[in-house]
């Protein structure tokens, strides 16, 4: 179930909180123990997992988020968007490249990262960043999505 989850140490170092450590124990040890001693569960395993762990912040990304994160994963980390953004005078709170990296990471981890406050600062929406992206990531869309308030 958790085969794809690789973000514990990253999130731990990123947020500086014990939350990641707790989730590691809960999903990596407690969950396994409960499965070993519990009754044979019925129903879809993914749904049962989400029902159990939604309170901890685990959730399946919605279709839009998943699509954006998938696009963001193509990022080469080349930095052309950052340079073009600075050149054309856009003023996003977070560097476009950092936004793309954050978006790709969020999908892998399933867990909502704590993002810095200035990410919601609007830029001039010129989309110059998108025009130079070698892998055509919808960078401005990704930034808007990161800045949007979510439940």
């Amino acid at each position: 179930m958790l085969k794809g989850y690789r973000g514990f140490s990253r999130e731990f170092s990123h947020t500086g909180s014990l939350r990641a450590l707790w989730m590691q124990v809960r999903t990596g040890a407690a969950h396994v123990v409960r499965r070993a001693f519990g009754r044979d569960a019925v129903g879809d395993p993914i749904e049962r997992f989400l029902a159990n762990y939604a309170a901890d912040g685990f959730r399946l990304p919605d279709a839009e988020s998943a699509a954006l994160a998938l696009a963001a994963e193509a990022c080469l980390v080349c930095g052309l968007c950052s340079a073009e953004c600075a050149r054309s005078g856009g003023a996003p709170g977070v560097d476009p490249r950092d936004a793309v990296i954050a978006a790709s990471r969020m999908a892998i981890d399933w867990v909502r990262l704590e993002l810095p406050e200035p990410i919601a600062t609007p830029c001039s929406a010129c989309r110059a960043c998108e025009a130079v992206c070698p892998v055509q990531i919808p960078i401005h869309h990704v930034q808007e999505w990161l800045a949007a308030p979510r439940s």
Binding site: C78, A86, D95
Partner: protein
């Protein structure tokens, strides 16, 4: 005469500029900035790497004398008969060919304030952001002025708050590497650029910081701090953030203010702007030469007997209009130059588990001359970090006029040419000939195409 060049990196740009200078009506189709925009400011014809295994020799084995770039170019061509250099230089005087190409590039870049620095008689020592030495044949302005050999005293400039640049570690490494090649007599120090508070936060975003350095307001605020860095006979080595616009002359302003030489370190701790500036200067040169630039991808072509007649392209949506179907356009071409690069640019793609050249379906060969199209990329990599990787040498083969060959070993079309990394049988990273091949083959493809 109408020519279409596919690919906007150094090879495509040189081909387009050369065609335009010979009176052709040139359209350059580019999907996005490519490897040239991501380059680090050095331009190696055939650079040696002194401290790495499997690198080109620094010295001639028989006489023990240092090999100049041109000497190594011959060594590269002699060692691999299918190398683009061997193909290009078979019937020409290599020295003339290289000199003309470098002079042409210098002339194209000069109006934007960039120059090609260095000589083909001697390799120069530059330092990268980690303090490692790089032997570079030529370098574009920025890194190009950082020749360690000619410096009296060297000072690494620490910019507080700039991510990824560890100045003390760079100094340690540089001191050790300079000792290894006999440059140790030069004093090596660290100086700190005193940033005003208003610029501290900006330095966390290197591109934005570079942009600030281009403006008069920030230069006024930094006047005193930059002047304090200077000393008689000193070479100031900055992280590669000295300006976004090549025309702004930020490096020259620092030299004038500090009263000593200033250059950038090679490489990218977080972001090197050297390639970005080079890309902008090449685009500006194309604007002056009246080359039409279209953002898009060539998808299909039509041929008539042995000539390509038209190409159809999907033009890239304007930013923000992603969901609109792409527009298509048809360009009539008397000559077609392919310079889409390799994997990043889309000159070679892996589709359904098979690598292929997507436009003309040309056969691909690896370094050893083996046909590799139709194989999966993973079949062409080996678990040997420093060893040769067949995948990285994959590309098309051409005749002496740079016309790509078909499966029968004959030129596929009479008016189609290939240049840059799309050419196979060399690994630009390994033999350190990357932009050199792009420059020489791009310009030569332009010359050949102009006679179509």
């Amino acid at each position: 005469m109408r020519a279409v060049v596919v690919g906007g990196g150094l090879a495509g740009s040189c081909a387009a500029l050369e065609l335009a200078s010979r009176g052709a009506d040139v359209t350059l189709v580019s999907a996005a900035p490519g490897a040239t925009a991501l380059s680090w400011g050095t331009l190696d014809v055939a650079a040696a790497s002194p401290l790495r295994r499997g690198a080109l020799p620094l010295r001639d084995a028989a006489s023990g004398r240092p090999l100049a770039p041109l000497g190594r170019l011959h060594a590269v061509a002699a060692a691999n008969a299918a190398h683009p250099y061997a193909t290009l230089l078979r019937a020409r005087d290599p020295e003339e060919e290289v000199k003309e190409a470098v002079a042409a590039l210098d002339a194209w870049l000069a109006p934007s304030g960039l120059r090609v620095q260095g000589s083909l008689a001697q390799t120069r020592w530059l330092a990268d952001v980690h303090g490692a030495l790089r032997a570079a044949d030529l370098a574009i302005s920025g890194a190009g002025e950082g020749d360690l050999d000619s410096a009296g005293e060297i000072a690494l400039v620490d910019v507080p708050g700039l991510p990824g640049f560890e100045v003390r570690s760079a100094r340690r490494t540089l001191a050790a590497e300079m000792t290894a090649v006999g440059l140790a007599s030069r004093p090596l120090s660290i100086v700190r650029l005193a940033l005003p508070d208003s610029l501290r936060d900006v330095a966390a975003q290197p591109a934005r910081f570079a942009r600030c350095l281009d403006t008069d307001a920030v230069r006024d605020a930094l006047q005193g701090a930059v002047a304090a860095l200077g000393a008689e006979g000193r070479l100031l080595l900055f992280p590669p953030v000295l300006g976004l616009e090549p025309t702004a002359g930020t490096r020259a302003w620092i030299e004038a203010t500090a009263g000593c030489r200033a250059a950038e370190l090679v490489g990218a701790p977080s972001l090197s702007l050297a390639g970005f500036r080079l890309d902008r200067a090449l685009a500006a040169a194309q604007g002056r030469a009246r080359v039409t630039r279209i953002a898009g991808r060539v998808q299909r072509f039509e041929s008539e007997a042995v000539r390509v007649r038209t190409v159809q392209l999907a033009t890239r949506n304007a930013p923000g209009q992603r969901n609109r179907p792409e527009d298509s356009a048809t360009l009539v071409c008397d000559a077609l130059v392919l310079a889409m690069g390799r994997f990043v640019g889309g000159g070679i793609v892996e589709r359904d588990g098979q690598i292929a050249e997507p436009l003309l379906g040309l056969p691909l060969h690896d370094l050893a001359g083996r046909r590799v199209d139709g194989l999966a990329a993973r079949q062409l990599v080996r678990r040997d970090y420093e060893g040769e990787q067949p995948l990285f040498g994959a590309g098309v083969r051409t005749d002496m006029r740079l016309r790509p060959l078909g499966v029968d070993g004959l030129p596929r079309f009479a008016n189609c040419f290939a240049a840059g990394d799309l050419l196979g049988s060399f690994d630009p990273a390994r033999d350190r000939t990357g932009l050199g091949v792009a420059l020489l083959s791009g310009r030569r493809a332009g010359i050949e195409a102009s006679s179509c």
